[in-house]
Amino acid sequence: MIARILATAANEFHIARRNRWVLIAVLLMVVFSLVLSAAGSAPTGALGADRLSVVVASLTSLSVYLVPLVALLMSFDAVAGEVERGTLPLLLTYPVARWEVLAGKLVAHTAILIVAILAGYGAAAVVTIVADPTATSGLVALWRLTWTSALLGATFLGIGYALSSLARRVSGAAGLAIGLWLGLVVLYDLGLLAAVVADDGGAFTTRVFPLALLANPADAFRLFNLTASQATAVAAGVGGAANAIPQWQSLLSVAIWPLISLVLAALAFRKVEP
């Protein structure tokens, strides 16, 4: 079992390397992280937080968009691509379970994401600490951001596999992935904000709103990092609600979402007829 998962992972890694996905993911993360750490380190001192913690807060806002995007881009082709290329029937005649195939892909793609995240955040940390050696106190927050980003990435990889299985066509899967990204990461928050404003402190804001935040893996990720680093004030928008939600709840959501999305992916893949 483990051998077959690792074999699939090695195979996917070859493919991702040839398709330049490793390079693209790393470059995206590094470039954006560096830009943010340069921009984010300007307004400091007044908040009482060290520079790195401030950078981590802006990296959190970046990752909430970028990590899901990169994960979806890497995963939307996973099943639909095999169906369209005609490689799936042969693969499924091998003594390998479908979930093992997905697990292998997940291992490879998550590893690539982790490399990209480490490269991006690492670059930001180096730049910040070189500029201000006392910023090392923010490393705890950076570490927290790193592993939660990996979990967020895994969640969206699983969602990508599920969409890829449902669409069965690469073009359809790409459309679904982009739509889902826009929906979960961009429109969801806008919708919530609009509702909160319209509700003006009513039942929606106190009851539904926190649950709605926890239900969305991207929001839960942001909440957890912002409450944990107590840099809430630095972040605008939805971050303001973070105070109202206990940290363990957002942690639970961050930890559980990868499992949910992988189960969804496995179920969707099982329905694919080669």
Partner: protein, 303 residues
Amino acid sequence: MKDKLMTSTLTISQLTKTFGGVKALTDVSLSVAPGERVALLGHNGAGKSTLMKIILGLIPADDGKVSVCGAEPGNAEARAHVAYLPENAAFHSALTGLEQITYYMRLRNQNTSGAMGLLDRVGLGHAAKRRIGTYSKGMRQRVGLAQALIGQPRLLVLDEPTSGLDPVSRRDFYELLDGLAADGAAILLSSHALTEVEARTDQLLILSGGRLVAEGTLSELRREAALPVSMQLHPVNGYDADIMATFPDAIRVNSALHLTCLQDEKLAVLARISALEGKLSDVEVIPPSLEDIYSHFSRRDGQ
């Protein structure tokens, strides 16, 4: 027959499969014993690929029983012993041949040090480290063959294995098959190339419109079809009229006379021909060709 069923690697009985309204397979029964090479023939859309996909468990049957190495098609036990070559075998173009074969070997729990040897066996050694995207059609087909050879499969299901191969590679391929069959593998292959199948397989199955319309060795099928034998008579100059008088049904084709008769009349006709000794310069007996036999069976159902 019972004995054969007991020891068969593959046994299918009364298999039926319908796609929407299309009857792809109707009441198909067959068996393949260890060491036996069986060729599946049939026109486009006859149901050959569908039958193979059911054997592999890729698509479910509507009705009937399939037993693969004593197991249900597609379960782990069956998959461990069956190799498949799909028609139009496709691979990820970004991988090299060696990487692709190595991956498949690892899935079958084989030692990957044999990957290069396997590629050499199908004549791909020189291109092993190139991307499959740069391969020709025949080279991709050989990657497909190489993966079907991994780990002594007990049953090989090969869908048009020689399509895209040049004549020399086809011969090499059938030699590979002979070796596998000699080691006890059961082989089921489909093909449109009748002549190569005729010489290189033990048993022919003809599917037509989803039904198994003929089954047997070539000589059995030839006997069963009982197609007319044709003969070509070459008269010595001036004796045409004598010969036409003996065989009024003969048709003149250029300088020769063309004659057909039924299988069981053949010897009698030949006796009459030998009575014409001196008036004939040559006689050719042309048995029904494999194409004739094939179209006889596959047309029977109105195809």
